[in-house]
Symmetry: D3
Amino acid sequence: MRKQKFVSESFVRMTELVLPNDTNTLNNLMGGRMMHLMDVAAAISAQRHSNRIVVTASVDNVSFREGIKLGSVVTLEAKVTRAFSSSMEVHIDVWAEDIPSGTKIKSNEAFFTFVAVDQSGRPIDVPEAVPETHEEISHYDGALRRRQLRLVLAGRLKPQDATELKAMFDLE
Amino acid sequence: MRKQKFVSESFVRMTELVLPNDTNTLNNLMGGRMMHLMDVAAAISAQRHSNRIVVTASVDNVSFREGIKLGSVVTLEAKVTRAFSSSMEVHIDVWAEDIPSGTKIKSNEAFFTFVAVDQSGRPIDVPEAVPETHEEISHYDGALRRRQLRLVLAGRLKPQDATELKAMFDLE
Amino acid sequence: MRKQKFVSESFVRMTELVLPNDTNTLNNLMGGRMMHLMDVAAAISAQRHSNRIVVTASVDNVSFREGIKLGSVVTLEAKVTRAFSSSMEVHIDVWAEDIPSGTKIKSNEAFFTFVAVDQSGRPIDVPEAVPETHEEISHYDGALRRRQLRLVLAGRLKPQDATELKAMFDLE
Amino acid sequence: MRKQKFVSESFVRMTELVLPNDTNTLNNLMGGRMMHLMDVAAAISAQRHSNRIVVTASVDNVSFREGIKLGSVVTLEAKVTRAFSSSMEVHIDVWAEDIPSGTKIKSNEAFFTFVAVDQSGRPIDVPEAVPETHEEISHYDGALRRRQLRLVLAGRLKPQDATELKAMFDLE
Amino acid sequence: MRKQKFVSESFVRMTELVLPNDTNTLNNLMGGRMMHLMDVAAAISAQRHSNRIVVTASVDNVSFREGIKLGSVVTLEAKVTRAFSSSMEVHIDVWAEDIPSGTKIKSNEAFFTFVAVDQSGRPIDVPEAVPETHEEISHYDGALRRRQLRLVLAGRLKPQDATELKAMFDLE
Amino acid sequence: MRKQKFVSESFVRMTELVLPNDTNTLNNLMGGRMMHLMDVAAAISAQRHSNRIVVTASVDNVSFREGIKLGSVVTLEAKVTRAFSSSMEVHIDVWAEDIPSGTKIKSNEAFFTFVAVDQSGRPIDVPEAVPETHEEISHYDGALRRRQLRLVLAGRLKPQDATELKAMFDLE
């Protein structure tokens, strides 16, 4: 039987300071730098779940709200949501904290997918991810729908065959 | 009348060498570093179109195929596809080139969205983007559908109201 | 009366991946890079406590044990131990995690001291730090002794007058 | 017979954004960073021509004109001008683009020379470079004269024996 | 008999410019970056003494005085003070130089300890360090006392047994 | 009368460790990184002479000999050779040191030219540079000839009018 691990075992919290080279000419954190941080936090989470080297397989739609100022503190929290043979979906939450005011706002949220590989780079199976909390179960349940969307967007699944997705459009 | 600029005026080609710090322990380019490069190339394209500072508003689904080795040459080509008042969608194509074999393969493709802002960070209108070639027109036409998908995924549009998207599922 | 904040409110957890440029020719994390990470984690903790810009005032003796390999995950946890008018002592714990084996070992431990400053760089008072747990209280209590040692080592206190320190040598 | 490749096959265009760490205290791009970019662009061009690892052999006189501001876009275009057994001369043009005004000015021009090497670092022959356009032919023709200048400056050719160079001084 | 080298043979002078990414939001050099520079300078000194790869074993108490501004020149001077079988203590002096005023002030001073290792990371003996000048001899003599302090602070020596240290407190 | 400073007052020694990100796929220091280091060392020297912000005006021909391995120590020594109203020529010597063998070889030599500027970026006069040693005098004397070569190569002086240069070709 396939090995099982709790989703909570893959939890990663990463805290970063926004430095000058991370910012644009408005002194705000650049989107590309943010995605770089998200990828590192999510990769560490997938590595903790699989005890393997992992490679980024896909990044789901990410939207950016307010600018994050130079000198702010960025906190990223990542957790595997669900594992499929050799791939793992990881959820990432990002907060931006303004030091003088002490305010902390939710900045972004994203789903990244990783594949575990062996030393020669071939995909290798990973343990099942077992959700426990209400939020973990909700992310676990939505993983199939997001996976279909990825396949449709990558042209590897016909929209008509994406049954989970169609349900989302209330069409069946 | 709103100013117009050709899509081709926003074309950017960026060429990068994969260096040690860009790679994981398999000596392959990390996904986060790739997204950072995409964001810079796309931002320059949006800046050329708008002659403004731009901030990343969203990144559409990106999928990663084969690993790109240390020492490879990565070429990114970015072009604005369509402009909506203060926002611009940018298409990015990425190729990976292996020097010893001289082979060059398509590695990724993505759509990023940027908002043009003034010096105090407030959104400001940009010129219309006028497509000319067959591919530019096709990207221009698809922009509405991708925009609806972004709104649905961000929870700001109900799936039932996303008429362009529903058409994609052959449901109307 | 001086404002009070719980020690636990300043807690910071930072997680980092050891990348090629962080390593020496044995592929181990360099000591200087580790201290850089410790300083950033501890500074964020002191900023959370004080809601101010902080500057590093001193670093206590740090010892390094086993090498940390390229590709390992480094976790730093920082917490203010005690505040003295404008200065704060911060305790940092560092763990190194080897992904293939899943083992996580305590790597380092250190005390850094920061001073809170205003926009022109002048020291400014910070809230008192209130310890709650057994470990927090023990760190709080030891802070005076470590402070005397710093003053003695900086030549600003005569060893004979360092009453807390002398007690440590069982001499009174 | 020695393999031939068109000069145009080695063309590289690199686009970069001037970031804070690239600048001096006047917020202008530093000369050393510019030369670093030139070297990378030119090396990629020489690698495309030779399908080999290349090492920098020499940099000809480079002069810098106006400062390039933080936030500007720098475009570098590189092309092999001529190949000599294992070495290749590469021409690089640099433009600086100011985003708000949309102006783009020629900033620098330089010639770098690279040697193609095998996996153990030994020089190895490269294809001939065949010029086609008027400018390519002019760069091809000037390559001998620049090569003599390099040899004279490196003390490996007596000025009196530099026949191509002397012609430049209208002395024969 | 064990090989001997003069302390002066390990002398290293390193000069660095304070760049934007090295600074905090007050535009001052960050403490962690300074310690990174100290570690590199000291490691080069220990490598010159031992002709071996070295790893950082410990950092003694470092205190920071005035802030060092963006654009300043930082000069570090490092020299081995004493060698013990496979370990070497290194002394580092740091100066900060303000270019417009031409003033140069002593900024920091520290002792780092390194262990020389072979290719598999095992400790290996190093030559004796022979002091010549008055200052070198004074650093050599104090090395035992600092070593005891490190052992006490690391919990590997009882304070009561630290005879050299106790002398410092005028207690015997 | 114009202020005078000794050439020796502008002396800078910079020591650097070759790190992974500085190297190409043969694990040798990249030429562009070397030029970056040369520019920083030379700029600090020109700043010490002028007590001003300086900008790179030109780089003379640089040739690269043997590769410098990852983990090597690079030492750069820079000194102003001569000052002309607002510009200064700086000579840079570079050595590469292999730690295991303890060998140190001369790697490169170059002349960079800088212009001193005020806070708004306008050229401003600098002190005269007074040479003392035999080598300093020889560099001082050659400065006019190198300056003519720069002007000829930049197309700002006709070769026929470069009297100092013609002398070099033994033609007058």
